[in-house]
Amino acid sequence: MTGERKTKKVKTIKINVDKCNGCRACEVICSAFHAAPKYSSNNPARSRIRVIRDPLADIYVPIYAGDHAVAECAGRDKYTIDGKEYDECSFCRASCPSRSEFKEPDSGLPLKCDMCEGEEEPLCVKWCMVDALTYEEREEEVEEGADREELEIGLEALAAKYGVKTLQNTLARLSKKA
């Protein structure tokens, strides 16, 4: 199974927490950009980037909203870096029942960073004038096969958990629906 080679664009926002001054300009512009109509309102609670701050402990972690998690994690991590103890979930991007970040304040619907679709560069990066956030775009060659391999690993795990039979039945049902 050899995959063809393709290129894909990888968009990376580099976060330098040492440069962050805690101003929350990134939250401001993200929430304004995603208002409807665009820029008509502002509310950092709707932002898809949130700065986890604890100024007296010198903790500043700009975090981007990632995928929605249906349930909170049973096991959690607590990091200590350079002598600073970070709260549980500090580095996690999930919109998750355990916290208020990355949810629309009124509806509770999950938010996710879309890299400011349609803009030249992510606006949070543009508004972060101290370069705590920088943007990088690069082309990466990927093997189509690579994805398939991942799929295979995933399926294997599911088969192990539920049995091949159940998995087959489920797949059949799903493909009918589709």
Partner: protein, 675 residues
Amino acid sequence: MRYAETGYNLEIDLTLGNIERVETDPRDTELYLGGLGTNAKIMWERVPPETEPFSPDNLLIVSAGLLCGTPATGCNRTIVTTISPQTRLLAFSMMGGFFAPELKYAGYDKVILRGKSSSLVYIYIHNDQVEIRDAAHLKGKGAVETAGLIKKELKEPNAQVAAIGLAGENRVFFASIEQGRSSASRGGIGAVMGDKGVKAIVVRGTKDINVARPAEFMELCNEVMKYIQFRNENPIPNVMPILAGLGSPQEMMVHDEKWHTENFMWGNSRVRRKDFWNDEIAANWMKTLESARTRLISCYNCPMKCGATISLPGLPAYMMKCFSKLTYTMGAFSDLEFGLRIAQRATEYGVDGFSTPQVMAFALELYQEGILTDQDMPGLPEGNEERFYWLLDKIVRREGIGNILANGTYWAAQEIGKGADKFAHNNIKKHEQLPLKLSMLNPIYFLMYCTGEKINITQIEGQFPQAPFLTREEREEFVKDWFQVPDDHFKQIFLDWEPRGEKSMPFYPTVQMCCDIVDWQERMHYIDDALGMCAGLSSFPLKPPYHIHNYPKFISAGAGIDMDEEKLAQAARRYRTLVRAINIGRGMRRKDDRPPENHWKKRFPELEKELLDTYYKFKGWNADGIPTLVSLHELGLDYVGEEFLKRGIYSDSPDEASADAMANKVQKSMKGDVS
């Protein structure tokens, strides 16, 4: 829909425990903008001159500015207004940080406190849910500590907390309200908060703030950001470094303190140490700051990083900004390490970084002179630095001599007597000033010191260079891209301004020019205080990103109020006059409009008289500094004029005779308006 503002104030009666959400009148926004402007209107209407600072009827208004919560860079000021226990005049102190935007997102423009709680409480505002909560367990706790404890007990790490420390609880006349990164320090407003029994105001908001014309507004914001970038890359030449860039003076960043330490006064604003700064001190202080400073930090939505987290071995971390870096150091003739250490305790106690060191240095001077004795100060330690800690502890607890000193140098001197008033020498209107003593009168600064009703030189200066540049070429270079001027004649004034000779101080700029310059500088501060803009991006530095030409556009696009330069200037004049009117009602007159007697060595009484006479007239005030009926009428402030007449305010004035005639004239012209 209301734009930029929420259109609601939160009215809290602490005596009754009553909380109300009150819709405001949009017409007031047009006339008084917001922040200080509408605060002044409320104070005028509801706090008559008889009201004592510590009366339940005094209000404490904690207000966001009109544009706070919008994406306008650096627009984050909270304007706190009350009657000051120290000056007994209107106090309006501003704080940066994160409080004002959060209040807006919670759905309120202002929190208006009245009455008094019988026990210590804190106020918790979370969108529509507002509670008065017991704060007995926070009694005596530090202001920074309190913020941490409250956030923990509410499980609200994102809440913003404005709290008082022991000084506020004990009604020290120079107590501050602390808000982590920032504080509202001047005028003793923390004492009024303590008098009302409020330990803290806590706010968390997750609602929207709307802008009227989004595309236009963002365009303006982007221009401002571009210009900030430009200014950061192009500091202004020929001025000292702290005046070259934007932001509050970058005290947390700079190491070279030669200028401050050799030009500002040490001790009780007394001693100039001309050869203080040397390599050894420079190296020492650099080491101190480098090791104490964890990070440079900004206020909400601003890249300027004017503050810092300070963390010293053995002490809890705290945040510091601006010149408080040096006030304790210089008050005590000590070093930076001492200054940063005692400031930690002072921040927890919640006291003003200007007044406090001066009050303590004043006490020690009186002690040296034998006016205060061991009997007055039993237990005073031997060591100089220990004495400052000792005094600080006494003051915030109002123990012994501390109970007298807690009222500031003016009132303390009155109480101590024995000629102590000679030592309370650095006040304007009973309020301690920057420790600065100079030689030649500067006519522009003379007017600003006299008439700046924030009673703080930094809150009226800016925009126009403090001193002439040496050569014509340098001046020409400076005016080339000086588009912030209201009109070009300011450029000409500056071009012609020479360090020596015919066109030099004190007789140039001419009296009229001085009036124009002061009026412009003051106006920009007043606009900032209504919009909630940080002076560091607007009225304070030279060539700022916000100015008289783009502000009307910001207000139009942001708040949806039809605004132009003239209308904005008129609005600023209106509430500026209202501030003066409140103070006039409380007895302030020309006699109070003067700098500390020894601020300049070379004085020019005739010139000074002419300056004040001309400036008063220019402002529409009579010879005693009272706004005239005609000027009040022009500003739509007839209600002030009527009250003045009723109270006989004009009757002690030198031009009293004309008051009635004026009243007639005004009444006629008012009738004219109607028909």
